[in-house]
């Protein structure tokens, strides 16, 4: 058997990778993918705990997370596309009109 900690560590690493992606990438799409990555890391944690506790709750939560994620993707992509239409760019650094 594999210690649960392994799974958790893995999820932790994935989460951190996602975080890093959000911080260092400029392409909105990639940034967004990184966020998806983070979500998946979360899911992994949930599933792990579910298994650990032998309660299905965790898996149910994951279900909802996936649903929400899907919605977020829709909304997010819509926004990104919309902005691209207007500015011909998907770099998050180029949306900096609002500041101060």
């Amino acid at each position: 058997m594999i210690p649960p900690a392994y799974f958790l560590i893995l999820s932790g690493i994935l989460l951190s990778l996602g975080v890093a992606g959000v911080l260092i990438r400029r392409n909105a799409l990639v940034v967004f993918m990184s966020i998806e990555l983070m979500l998946n890391a979360t899911n992994l944690a949930f599933v792990t705990f579910a298994r650990l506790l032998g309660s299905v709750q965790g898996q149910v939560v994951v279900f909802f997370v996936i649903v929400v994620a899907a919605v977020e993707v829709v909304v997010g992509l819509a926004i990104i596309v919309d902005i691209f239409r207007a500015r011909e760019t998907v770099s998050v650094d180029d949306v900096d009109l609002l500041r101060g």
Binding site: L23, D93, D96
Partner: protein
């Protein structure tokens, strides 16, 4: 109610002239004012018929005035042997001067304001002398100061007059501050300000307290009565109309200090240290002022310094516990000094305002009566018999001598004598330069109107005969009365008074002779370096200007600029600036880049977690 009426009548005159004076003719308002004072004089005479006055004193109270906590003072009047004298002097001399003013101010466009002030002054002075406790006295004390401010600055359009007025008031204020503290101490110590109460409380007071209190009060007196070190306002006060100088700055107000000491004589007598100081200050002032008068060219200023000097005599008298003598001199001085001023005024009036003795002379002819009057006054001042001044001054000198015999130093007596010499000299000089020496002007002056003449005549009469009030061979009515008030036995001294008298007269005569000899033939005589010191008033005022006034103003300016706007307000605005700057800085932190924001969020997360782990 009579005593109250005595005050109310001039007060009414003030109100009428003040409110409706505009509608009265000049003579009308003058007449009204004079009538008010005259009536007051008559009322005073009537009041004196009340036997109470000659016993414990006629006391009228109108209930408490200020009462708070343990302190309470009543609004009350007291007419007794002492205040009787003062009331008569004030109203009497006051009346004459009112009358004189009618003529004197005839050329003014309006006089109602003038007479209103004058009446107000009389009323205030009466409050001063009739008050039954120190606080009421203080009311009068400050009100007369106010009136003198108004009258000195009567021609307020003249900057010098306005300045002189302000100076007078402020210097008086400085003295009054001491007076005020004295009263506070008195309340704190004796718990009352009522004259009778104070006398009762004296035994329970520590001598330190008494000395302190009396010194403070005396400081007040030096302000009001123009003694060293606060005399400086009086010479400038001559900017006012001459009758004012006569009334306020010679006859009445300036003597308030003497009166106050007399009024509180029991308290002062309990403080020998203070008395010594008073005597010393008096003598010094007398001598000092006399010397300045010796070199002053402005006739009125000569008289002003002479007033200071004579007041010095009075304080000398108070200091050597010859209070009756002091009050006696006060009375006679009121007569002859008023006379001198009125005469000077009539000179001024005749010479279209010229008062510098270097531009006068030869007036004995055209202004015969004035000259006569002035000379009488001069003789009285010089203390030559049989004129009024002789009796009172002689008495003071005797007292000083006796005091010295009593163990104190002879300096006081010596100072007194020396002053007598100088006095005779400078007044002779004034007479000579004004009337005797050949004229140094082209104008053709002529005597003033009747209304100005009669008061002078009256005063001249008083200056000649006033001495009898204290002359032993006619029973000295005034003096005896005062003796009774002060409960002093008539001074007896081992040296027969006659000798002292002779000495005094001789000195005075010498002085007069000296003055005559020097100035009759060498009018422009100056005393060289000494003279320069004298004429600068011994540099006292310069010292004040350099040591007090200038630094004070500099300090004020520094506070107003450096401290106020620089430090205090600077700090306030500084804080504001700092906050605002921080705000600006925070704005720059808001870069507008999503990734920065994300980084900030993450940093927050890590900090939070880290805090948790590290705790």
């Amino acid at each position: 109610m009579l005593p109250l009426l005595i005050i109310l009548v001039p007060l009414a005159g003030w109100l009428i002239n003040g409110l409706y004076g505009g509608r009265l003719s000049k003579t009308a308002s003058g007449a009204l004012a004079s009538a008010a004072v005259g009536l007051a004089f008559l009322l005073a005479l009537a009041a004196l018929r009340n036997p109470l006055v000659w016993q414990a004193g006629w006391r009228i109270t109108f209930g408490p005035w200020i009462a708070a906590g343990g302190f309470s003072v009543e609004a009350g009047l007291l007419l007794d042997r002492l205040s009787a004298v003062m009331v008569l002097v004030v109203t009497g001399v006051g009346f004459l001067i009112h009358v004189y003013s009618i003529g004197y101010m005839a050329d003014e466009p309006t006089t109602s304001r003038y007479f209103a002030y004058l009446n107000l002054f009389i009323a205030s002075m009466l409050i001063l002398v009739l008050g039954s406790n120190l606080l009421v006295l203080f009311v009068g004390w400050e009100l007369v100061g106010m009136c003198s401010y108004l009258l000195i600055g009567y021609w307020f359009a003249r900057p010098r007059a306005a300045a002189a007025a302000r100076k007078a008031f402020i210097v008086n204020r400085i003295g009054d501050a001491g007076f005020l503290l004295g009263m506070l101490a008195l309340v704190a110590a004796a718990g009352t300000l009522d004259f009778a109460g104070i006398e009762r409380a004296i035994p329970s007071l520590t001598s330190a307290a008494v000395v302190g209190i009396t010194l403070l009060l005396f400081f007040g007196a030096t302000g009001k009565s123009a003694q060293l070190p606060l005399y400086v306002w009086l010479p400038d006060a001559m900017e006012g109309p001459t009758p004012v100088s006569a009334l306020i700055h010679a006859a009445t107000m300036v003597t308030a200090g003497v009166y106050m000491i007399g009024r509180l004589h029991v308290l002062f007598e309990a403080a020998s240290a203070t008395l010594a100081i008073i005597a010393a200050v008096g003598t010094l002032t007398a001598l000092f002022a006399a010397t300045v008068a010796l070199v002053e060219w402005d006739l009125k200023r000569v008289l002003a310094y002479s007033t200071i000097s004579q007041l010095g005599y009075m304080f000398l008298a108070m200091g050597v516990v010859a209070m009756p003598a002091g009050l006696f001199h006060l009375t006679t001085h009121a007569f002859f000094k008023a006379l001198l001023f009125l005469a000077a005024g009539s000179v001024m009036h005749a010479m279209r305002g010229t008062i510098d003795m270097r531009a006068l002379g030869g007036l004995a002819g055209p202004l015969r009566w004035t000259a006569l009057g002035f000379t009488i006054g001069a003789l009285a001042l010089a203390g030559l018999p049989p004129f009024a001044g002789f009796f009172s001054k002689d008495l003071i000198l005797e007292a000083a001598f006796a005091h010295a015999r009593g163990g104190a130093s002879y300096l006081l007596y010596a100072g007194g004598l020396l002053t007598a010499f100088v006095t005779a000299a400078y007044i002779t000089r004034a007479v000579v330069l004004t009337f005797v020496v050949p004229a140094r002007h082209e104008s053709h002056p002529h005597e003033a109107s009747e209304s100005m003449a009669w008061p002078m005549v009256a005063l001249a009469a008083l200056s000649m005969t006033g001495g009898l009030l204290g002359a032993a061979f006619v029973g000295a009515p005034l003096l005896r009365n005062l003796d009774r008030f002060f409960e002093v036995p008539p001074v007896e001294s081992s040296v027969p008074p006659l000798i002292l008298t002779v000495i005094a007269v001789a000195v005075a005569a010498l002085g007069a002779a000296a003055g005559w000899l020097v100035y009759r033939w060498r009018p422009r005589e100056a005393l060289g370096a000494v003279g320069r010191v004298f004429s600068r008033g011994w540099y006292i005022e310069d010292a004040y200007r350099a040591l007090i006034l200038a630094p004070g103003r500099a300090l004020a300016a520094a506070l107003a600029t450096t401290v106020e706007t620089g430090i205090i307000d600077g700090a306030v605005n500084g804080i504001a600036a700092v906050l605002g700057g921080t705000g600006g800085g925070l704005r720059r932190l808001q870069t507008g880049y999503v990734r920065n924001y994300a980084a900030v969020i993450l940093a927050g997360v890590i900090l939070l977690m880290g805090y948790w782990i590290l705790r």
